[in-house]
C-alpha cells in the first residue's frame, strides 16, 4: 500500500527529529555544565597565579589574597579537641528528630533513613558526633580498599548521587539495605547540586560505621570544600545549620580528605571516581598520605628547597619564552591553564622565576606589562589596607616558606606527583581515541583512551574498571571494549526526565548486572515527546540565559557580519557569530529554530533579537542592562568569590572586601564596569550601618539566588533593616 508507506515515512521522520532534539538538548546541558567546571578551575587558577606571583615581602603582612585562603591553611588541630566540641552542644527536649548514640547500631542507620524521608533534620550535635566517629574510622582505612566477595554474596556499586536523596532511598528500597550479606560501594560525588547532600552523607557514614567491612566509600571530585563553595553544598549546610554550620563544614573538610581513593574487588575490579591516566601508579597511590590532598583545586606542592627558590627568584628575572601566558591576561590565546598545566609549569623551576614582573619581560607586550604593574599596584594597596585589618589571627607563613610549615608541625604538602596522581583518578574521563591527553573541558585530569585502560588492566592484572563522574542518559555506559563501566546514580540530573540512574551488581565471577531507574512520578505519566520537550525547554532556557549574558560580545560580533550596517545578518552568520562568542561547540543550526523566532527571508534583525533575549530575563529599570548582563555572566563566579572571602561563613562580607574583590576581578577578567557603579549599587541595597553586605541580599537584588535560600534567610537577618526595596525593584526580598 502506498498509503502505508507514506505514513511510515512521515512517522520515521518525526521520530528522527525527536531523537535529534533529545541529543541536542543533552549536549546543551553537558556543555554548560562543563563550561561551569572550567570556570571554576579558571577562577582558582587566577587566585593561585596571583598568590604565586605576588607574595608579600614579609610574612607579617596580611595579603588580602592570602587572607582569603586562610581557612585552607588552618593547621590540623588535635582531633581530640575538635571532636569533643560536640559534647557541649545541647539538644533541646523539643527536638523530635533521630537521636544517635555510639557505637551505632543498624537500627540507628535505618532510623536515619526514615527520619529523612519524613523531612526531619538531624541535630547538629549528632551530625558532628557522627562526623567525628566517621573520621576516626576513615583514618584507619588504606587508600585503596580491598574487598573480597567471599564474605558477602553480592556487591552493589553506585555512582554519583549529588545530593539527590530520593535516588538513594530508592536504591535501598529496590536493592535492599546494606547488611553483612549485602555489600555496597559508593563511588564518590555524594554532595553538591542536589538539595539533600547533608542527609545523604549522614546515611552513608552511618552505614559505614555500622558495617565497616561491607560498606565502602570512595572519594569523588566533589568531596572537596573548594568545589563545594561553588556547587551548593556549602550553601546547603549553612542554610540548614545556621549556628553550627561552620563547624560542620570544617569537620567535613577533614572527613573528605580522609576518604579512600579507590576500592578493589577481589583484586580484579577497580572502582574509582573519575578514571585513570597513562601515569597512574597504584603502588604509589597506595602509599601516599591521602589526607594531604585537601583539595584538588589548589595545588600546594612541596618545593624542593627553599634556598633554591630564593636563588631562582633573585637570579632569573626574565620570563621564559615557553611559559604559558595565563588566560586572564588580555592578550592570552592559550588554553585555560588547568590544575594539570599549572602544576606542570611549577615543576619547571625556570618558569617559576618570573615572580615580579619587570622591564626584562622581553616577550610580553607593553599592554601586558601595564596590566601586571597595575595588578602590582592594586595588591600593594590591598596589602596596605589589609595591614590595617590585622587581627589576632594565626601567623600565616607565606606560600613560599613551606619549609617553615613543616617545622611548625603543619601538614606537609603533597609532592607534585602525588597530587597529579590523585587528580587523575578523581577527574579523568574515558575517550574513544587511543592515547592520553589533558582534560581541557573539565580543567583537570585527562582523557584516557582504550590503550591506557588496557595497559593499566594488564599491569595490575585486573578485569575491568568501574567509574562514575559523567552523567549518562541511561545511567550507565560501557566503553573501551566493555573494559570500562560508567555508573551514574543520580536520575533526572539535569532536569526532570533528563536521564535514568543506575547501579551495578557484581555477581559470581564478577559479571556486572545493571539496574536502571528514574525517581520521579511525573516522568512516568508523560509521553516521550512531552518528556523530551520538558527537558528541552529547560535546556533552552539555560542556553538563552547564557546568550543574554554575552549580549555585548554578541552585538559586536554581529556587527562584524553586518558590513553595510543594515541591521541584518544571515542566519548562517548568526550561527558562526554565536559559536565564536560562546565556544560551546553546539549545533547552532539545529537549534536555531528554537532560539530565533522571527527571521524574514533568511535574515535576522539582530538588535531586536538581543532585545527580546533581554526581555525574557529579569530586568531592573535603574540598573544598566550591561551591568546586569555582566553580573549574570559571572554569577557563579561572583557567588564563589563571595564565599571564599567570607571565610568564616558568616554570610557577611565588608563593603571594602567586596569593593577590592570586584576591582581585582574586573581588571583581570576584562569586565569594564566602573567602581562607582558598583558602589552605588551596593549602597542602594540595604546593608547594615557598619558596612557589611549580606551576600544573599546582594545577589537576590538581581534575582541571582534561588528562592529557597531566600525563605530560610528571612528569620536570620539580624541586620535586616526596613527599607529593603529602596532603589531596587526586587519583590519580597529577605
Amino acid at each position: 500500500f502506498k498509503a502505508a508507506a507514506l505514513i511510515q515515512r512521515w512517522y520515521r521522520r518525526y521520530m528522527a527529529r525527536l531523537e535529534m532534539r533529545r541529543r541536542c538538548t543533552w549536549s546543551i546541558f553537558q556543555s554548560i555544565e562543563y563550561a561551569g567546571q572550567q570556570d571554576q578551575v579558571k577562577l582558582h587558577d587566577f587566585f593561585s597565579y596571583l598568590m604565586d606571583h605576588f607574595i608579600p615581602s614579609s610574612h607579617n603582612e596580611r595579603d588580602f589574597l592570602t587572607r582569603m585562603f586562610t581557612e585552607d591553611r588552618f593547621a590540623q588541630d588535635s582531633e581530640m579537641e575538635k571532636g569533643s566540641d560536640y559534647e557541649s552542644i545541647e539538644v533541646p527536649d523539643s527536638y523530635t528528630g533521630p537521636r544517635l548514640s555510639f557505637p551505632l547500631l543498624p537500627d540507628h542507620a535505618t532510623a536515619l533513613i526514615e527520619a529523612f524521608r519524613l523531612k526531619q533534620q538531624l541535630h547538629a550535635r549528632y551530625v558532628l558526633n557522627l562526623l567525628y566517629e566517621t573520621k576516626k574510622h576513615l583514618v584507619q582505612l588504606p587508600n585503596i580498599n580491598r574487598v573480597s566477595t567471599c564474605y558477602s554474596e553480592e556487591i552493589t556499586v553506585c555512582g554519583d548521587l549529588h545530593g539527590q536523596l530520593d535516588d538513594l532511598i530508592f536504591i535501598f528500597y529496590k536493592n535492599g539495605l546494606p547488611s553483612p550479606e549485602r555489600s555496597y560501594v559508593f563511588n564518590g560525588d555524594f554532595v553538591d547540586r542536589g538539595k539533600d547532600s547533608v542527609e545523604i552523607l549522614m546515611i552513608l557514614f552511618a552505614f559505614m560505621l555500622v558495617y565497616p567491612k561491607e560498606f565502602h566509600l570512595n572519594r569523588g571530585n566533589h568531596e572537596d570544600h573548594m568545589v563545594n563553595l561553588r556547587y551548593g553544598f556549602t550553601k546547603e549546610v549553612m542554610n540548614k545549620y545556621k549556628i553550627h554550620g561552620k563547624e560542620i563544614l570544617r569537620t567535613l573538610k577533614d572527613v573528605f580528605c580522609w576518604l579512600p581513593l579507590a576500592t578493589l574487588i577481589d583484586e580484579k575490579v577497580l572502582i574509582l571516581h573519575g578514571g585513570v591516566s597513562d601515569i597512574t601508579d597504584l603502588e604509589l597511590l597506595d602509599k601516599i598520605e591521602r589526607n594531604k590532598i585537601v583539595s584538588t583545586m589548589r595545588c600546594k606542592t612541596r618545593q624542593k628547597s627553599e634556598k633554591q627558590m630564593e636563588e631562582k627568584r633573585k637570579a632569573n628575572r626574565k620570563s621564559s619564552a615557553q611559559e604559558p601566558i595565563p588566560w586572564f591576561l588580555p592578550q592570552s590565546r592559550s588554553l585555560p591553564s588547568s590544575p594539570l598545566r599549572l602544576s606542570s609549569y611549577k615543576a619547571h623551576k625556570a618558569s617559576r622565576s618570573s615572580s615580579i614582573p619587570c622591564g626584562g619581560c622581553l616577550d610580553r607586550r607593553e599592554l601586558s606589562r601595564q596590566v601586571r604593574s597595575s595588578v602590582e599596584l592594586e595588591l600593594e594597596r590591598c596589602r596596605q589596607q589589609a595591614g590595617l585589618l590585622v587581627t589576632g589571627q594565626k601567623e600565616e607563613p607565606s606560600y613560599s616558606a613551606s619549609e617553615a610549615d613543616s617545622e611548625a608541625g603543619e601538614l606537609q604538602k603533597p609532592t607534585q606527583e602525588e597530587w597529579r596522581q590523585v587528580v587523575d583518578i578523581l577527574w579523568s574521563d574515558p575517550m574513544a581515541q587511543e592515547g592520553c591527553k589533558a582534560n581541557t573541558i573539565r580543567g583537570g585530569g585527562c582523557y584516557f583512551g582504550p590503550d591506557v585502560t588496557q595497559q593499566l588492566l594488564q599491569k595490575y592484572n585486573l578485569q575491568f574498571l568501574i567509574r562514575s563522574h559523567e552523567c549518562k542518559p541511561e545511567g550507565y555506559e560501557f566503553c573501551h571494549n566493555r573494559k570500562v563501566l560508567t555508573i551514574f546514580s543520580a536520575s533526572n540530573y539535569y532536569e526532570v526526565g533528563s536521564n535514568r540512574g543506575a547501579y551495578v551488581k557484581l555477581g559470581p565471577a564478577l559479571t556486572p548486572h545493571i539496574v536502571q531507574y528514574q525517581t520521579n512520578k511525573v516522568t512516568n505519566t508523560l509521553t516521550m515527546r512531552q518528556r523530551i520537550s520538558r527537558v528541552e525547554e529547560s535546556a533552552l532556557r539555560a542556553l538563552r540565559e547564557k546568550l543574554f549574558a554575552h549580549s555585548s560580545d554578541l552585538l559586536s560580533e554581529f556587527k562584524k557580519h553586518d558590513a553595510d550596517k543594515v541591521g541584518l545578518i544571515t542566519l548562517s552568520d548568526w550561527a558562526a557569530a554565536v559559536e565564536s562568542v560562546l565556544h560551546l561547540g553546539l549545533p547552532w543550526r539545529m537549534l536555531r529554530s528554537q532560539l530565533v523566532n522571527s527571521s524574514a527571508d533568511n535574515m535576522l534583525e539582530y538588535k531586536s533579537w538581543l532585545k527580546n533575549l533581554a526581555k525574557e530575563q529579569v530586568s531592573h529599570e535603574n540598573i544598566q542592562s550591561s551591568l546586569l548582563e555582566t553580573l549574570y555572566r559571572n554569577r557563579s563566579n561572583l557567588e564563589t568569590i563571595f564565599r571564599i572571602i567570607d571565610s568564616d561563613h558568616s554570610g557577611f562580607i565588608s563593603l571594602d572586601e567586596f569593593r577590592q574583590t570586584w576591582k581585582l576581578l574586573s581588571s583581570h577578567m576584562n569586565i569594564d564596569i566602573t567602581d562607582d557603579c558598583i558602589c552605588d549599587l551596593a549602597r542602594s541595597i540595604d546593608f547594615n550601618k557598619d558596612g557589611h553586605i549580606d551576600i544573599n541580599e546582594f545577589l537576590e537584588a538581581f534575582r541571582l539566588v534561588e528562592k529557597s535560600c531566600l525563605e530560610d534567610d528571612t528569620s536570620e537577618c539580624p541586620q535586616a533593616t526596613n527599607a529593603k526595596d529602596s532603589g531596587c525593584n526586587s519583590p519580597g526580598a529577605c
Binding site: A3, A4, W10, R13, A16, R17, S27, R589, M590
Partner: protein, 134 residues
Amino acid sequence: MADEKDREEIIVAEFHKKIKEAFEVFDHESNNTVDVREIGTIIRSLGCCPTEGELHDLIAEVEEEEPTGYIRFEKFLPVMTEILLERRYRPIPEDVLLRAFEVLDSAKRGFLTKDELIKYMTEEDRVSLCRVGW
C-alpha cells in the same frame, strides 16, 4: 552568470555546515564517522522523508566497498548535499498524509486500531515498527 553561481556556492556552503552539524551530533568518537544505523535519523532530521527502500539505496551509496558498519563523513557529505540541492525525498504535505490514513480506514471510522496499523505497516517494507509513541 556570475551572480547565480555565487549564490549557489553560498547555498552549498550553508548546506555543508548544516550537514556537518547534524553529522557531528551522532559522531560520538569525534572521528568523522557515525554508526550506519543512525544515518536514517540524520537524513530525516535534515528535512528529508525517504522510504526504507530509498534509505537502503542511499546507505549502499555512502558505505565503504567493504561495509564496516560505519559511514564516513567524506562520503556522506557530497551525497547528502546533492539530495538537499535536488530537494529529493521531500515530506508530503499534511493533507496528503491525512488522505493516506483515510485510504487505510476503509470503513470511515475516523480511527485505526493498533493491530490494523501494525498490519499495514509491516506488510509494506518488512521493517519493524518503532515503539508507538504518537
